[in-house]
Subunit: 598 residues, 2 copies
């Protein structure tokens, strides 16, 4: 029994009863629709004990449910055991969404409560509509968990810094022009931003208020004539204040955003992104101005990296790939000789990265899973729960860094010794899929949904699937996950898919996850390029940014097509040619061997 969780849920129910609330909804989000919230915002984790990066909790008087996605099913089952909280497996057949659950179960006149700062406008308005139909009420200006959470960590407030213009490729003024042009196309005269990475991109600044994400707690408002940047007062250094005063930007206090929005004399319409602007902000603005619900123009602009950014990223990825090579060499040569655990291996990798020039931070906590632990997609070893490594089976390591010049993300799976034939077949199919997508040729207009089967096909041919997307966008000295592009296969009604544009950077990470047995993932980061343009259209292709070996000890050549073998050999040749010049002679000789032609 996890008594502390049961106690917290009971305490919340007591408060709900006092306030006349039938259901209380707790998200994973901060006030900025961040994928990874800082500890201060982890109310859902506090209330449920579930530590995954995606999941929402719904507490009723006789029910408690946690919704999470396929990456976390195994982990959530373990973490929820003994809490009385039921796991709802998102997107599985017959499993309702939270909204559908409420629609079916809420009774006439009941009250739904949530902290409106942590719920996106889209969901908030859907919930409002649903509750209104039942003649109920929504309380959204509440935060009951805050009352229960005695030792809640305080909000972070790291110093904000401006990036050197030379590594941004565009000035703030140029970016504001691009954003205003997009606003005009959407017939909007004002834009409110609360997504931190969009704000960092627009103003060429970075912060440190979310672990591994160099973003600062912030809001921004762009009008036709002005731009307002809201930062925590204590996060602004004198140097930054001077720099901002030289930019077409008005600096405001983070705490003043709601008052500003309420008191501003809006002229024209206000563009809000319904996925990223909180319901609380939406409600304030809707009282003052005509709201247009759309997409942040910053999102698409940010995703298409400019030439300076791409050049910086290429260099950073070579250094980061060198780190992976060195890790591979170390673990292959030392396994069974020196004691190792999932934690010490991750530490070794992290330290190699920390020693790398330009390193700022990890881009996410390193995932290092041995044997069956790797079947948990986002497994984190802890000091109470980790595996010793031995010279057998496979180790999966997924890691990345923030560098002054780019954000990296890479996964490799290594054989530490003997493995089964099945593991080899699975590994080979994953490698084939990754390389088929990397080598895909397609027409402009394709979205990730058109291409997903290139990576997933070799696994589907074996009646195996992985329950996550194949790829995500990746930031530039920013969040390791960003939109709007992705590589996924499921059709979602009403969701606008974004064509892949030149300069978009994507991950390519198929995998196999066999519960209780093994997990495999091979992940490269790649950039979208324009190829031949002819009467049939603009053809496109990808270029890899990642150059790290794919473990030949795990390759079963018998299931590969000729093209797959060519793909692998070409890739390994590139790895050798690009990384060996950065190596010692001994390292280069080793790399030559592990990237040999098969």
């Amino acid at each position: 029994m996890k008594q502390h969780i049961c106690d917290r849920v009971a305490a919340l129910r007591k408060m709900m009863k006092e306030k006349g609330v039938a259901y209380y909804y707790i998200t994973t989000a901060d006030y900025h629709a961040s994928e990874y919230a800082d500890d201060h915002f982890k109310e859902r984790e506090f209330m449920s004990g579930f530590t995954g990066s995606n999941g929402n909790l719904l507490i009723g008087m006789d029910m408690a449910g946690l919704w999470t996605d396929g990456r976390y099913f195994i982990q959530a089952e373990k973490e929820l055991e003994g809490t009385g909280i039921e796991l709802f497996r998102m997107a599985e057949e017959g499993v309702p969404t939270t909204l559908e659950y409420l629609e079916r179960n809420m009774k006439e006149g009941e009250v739904l409560a949530f902290d409106g700062r942590t719920v996106a406008t889209r969901l908030g308005t859907q919930m409002e509509e649903m509750v209104n139909k039942k003649n109920g009420k929504v309380f959204y200006q509440v935060d009951y968990v805050d009352v229960l959470w005695a030792d809640r960590p305080s909000r972070k407030c790291e110093k904000v810094f401006a990036l050197d213009e030379k590594i941004c490729g565009k000035t703030v003024a140029e970016k504001l022009d691009m954003v205003r042009e997009s606003m005009k196309k959407n017939n909007c005269t004002n834009l409110v931003l609360s997504k931190m990475d969009d704000i960092m991109w627009l103003f060429n600044i970075r912060g440190g208020d979310v672990a591994c994400n160099p973003v600062a707690l912030s809001y921004a408002v762009v009008t036709e004539d002005n731009s307002y940047l809201f930062l925590q007062e204590k996060a602004v250094t004198e140097e930054l204040r001077v720099w901002i005063s030289s930019q077409p930007v008005i600096l405001c206090d983070y705490e003043d955003i709601m008052v500003f929005l309420q008191e501003k004399k809006w002229s024209g319409t206000v563009l809000l992104d319904k996925e990223n602007i909180s319901y609380a902000i939406y409600k304030v603005i809707r009282e003052q101005a005509e709201v247009v619900l759309g997409v942040n123009p910053t999102e698409l602009l940010k995703s298409m990296k400019n030439d300076v950014e791409l050049q910086m990223m290429k260099e950073v990825y070579l250094k980061d790939s060198l780190v992976v090579c060195r890790f591979m060499k170390w673990i292959k040569e030392n396994i069974g000789k020196i004691p190792m655990t999932e934690i010490s291996a991750a530490d070794y990798m992290d330290n190699l990265r920390r020693e790398t020039e330009g390193f700022l931070d990890l881009s996410f906590p390193t995932i290092c899973g041995y044997k069956e632990n790797a079947a948990m997609m986002h497994y984190q070893a802890t000091k109470d729960n980790y595996k010793e490594l031995a010279p057998e089976g496979m180790l999966l390591i997924d890691c990345g860094g923030q560098y002054m010049g780019g954000t990296t993300d890479v996964t490799r799976t290594f054989a530490l010794g003997p493995v089964t034939d099945e593991m080899k077949k699975h590994f080979t199919a994953v490698a084939m899929g990754m390389l088929r997508l990397l080598n895909g040729r397609f027409l402009y207009g394709c979205t990730g949904r058109n291409l997903d089967i290139l990576a997933r096909g070799p696994l589907w041919d074996m009646n195996i699937d992985y329950k996550c997307g194949t790829g995500h966008g990746i930031g530039y000295i920013l969040n390791v996950h960003e939109g709007p592009q992705n590589v996924r296969w499921r059709f979602l009604e009403g969701v606008k898919e974004v064509p892949l544009e030149e300069g978009m950077v994507l991950s390519n990470e198929p995998g196999v996850y066999i519960e209780g047995s093994h997990g495999i993932r091979t992940e490269n980061i790649m950039v979208t390029k324009n190829g031949e343009k002819n009467g049939d259209g603009q053809f496109m292709y990808f270029e890899s940014l990642t150059f790290a070996p794919i473990d030949l000890d795990l390759i079963d050549i018998s299931i590969m097509e000729r093209k797959d073998i060519e793909n692998l050999n070409h890739y390994h040749k590139d790895v050798y040619n690009k990384i060996s010049p950065l190596m010692t002679e001994e390292e280069a000789a080793w790399l030559k061997q592990v990237t040999r032609e098969i």
Copy 2:
């Protein structure tokens, strides 16, 4: 100069001027949103001279534009030459849709006119909205072309017949139950149908009012308690009348539909398919009842063939594939020995089909294109314009039949003698693509957009595309094209994609079309099947219904992967095993040779 077309456009403009109309819009459609309209309805062809099966004409005072899709660009260019009508290439970069064109060019207060019986509700309401914004008017109860068209063919009125229940798999009563269940799920109490193939399916009847499509001009209304079938009085035989009286169906006169809809006392809501119900019908019903715009539930139900239908289709496809084999043998053995033209070759094919047991009609006019003519996707040889065949180059033949037991569609491209290496590479890539899609394995939830790249990939790898979908649904003794499933790649915002369901039948027809040089298409029909179901979901695959050889004289094995070679050899083995028992000994020996392992 095509003077008659210029004269017609001038006469229309004169009428428009008299009536105060700025733009007149002419569709390809009949009143039933049929893909192929009977001659009576071909106003667009009469006014423009363009004979393709898809295209809309817009006439203004100083402009005349024809919009058509990529299948017809080459043909439309030729046919429009000298008419003063400009070609608008649908879906090409920078080309506005008709609606966008009108939005940009219509002036304040102007009038747009069209025959509302031939415009779908979706487009009609969009046009209404757009014109309203400009304070203009829509005249939709007009048909100016009818006035100009002196020798307009009369409306067809072939006898309607009931199908033997044994080959339908479901009775009318059972189908009505399925439809009403779907209506209930959509919270609708009434359904109005005007799509003829849906009506034929629902009532287990067939007609002959559209060339090659065994459908009758008809409407239907399904309420909670009754069903009404509207047929032309002269189309109803005594036998049919007796049969209908034994069914839960009330027979009504086709001419009475508008009055019926107007006078009906509707209880509850009326479900209309905005793509298939005409704007004229929509306007009448909207005045009387609450309209729910949705999708005909008949469409999805019809697309998932039941076991009886599939069994019948399997047998019919064997007979139809035998026809293709015999044609192939004949043309390969006789080319250069006896005179042949595109027309005589098509006739030979058609006659083989006509001699086949159960044959009712062709399912579309046979397309037989030699050399560069095959680059026109829907080329039709005419007695004034055809090519002689010679023992060189390639012949493309795309054809199919209506049988008492199924509708067929098949395309093969044959070498008649020496061909270039490039042609072989193109043919081989097409065959690889067709076979890769046919052998694709995928998860339930995939739509055609997920799979299109399997067929198109080998061509995209060569920077070649074909400007049409890869596959369409196919009817059962019905239209050769039906929805809702398809295999296409382009993302269309707001268009709901349909997951592939067990029993759905699809074409699989990649191609290469090199203007002025050659055209290649290889088309099989396949049925969607459930495969293994496991923790990852329901896996699915396809089974071929078509068993006709792929011309080995055109195969360049050097560009094929091992899996492609296996695919081809397995397929050819199946062709031999399934078709040879239907053949003479001499034919079987020939088939053995052309389906030999490579």
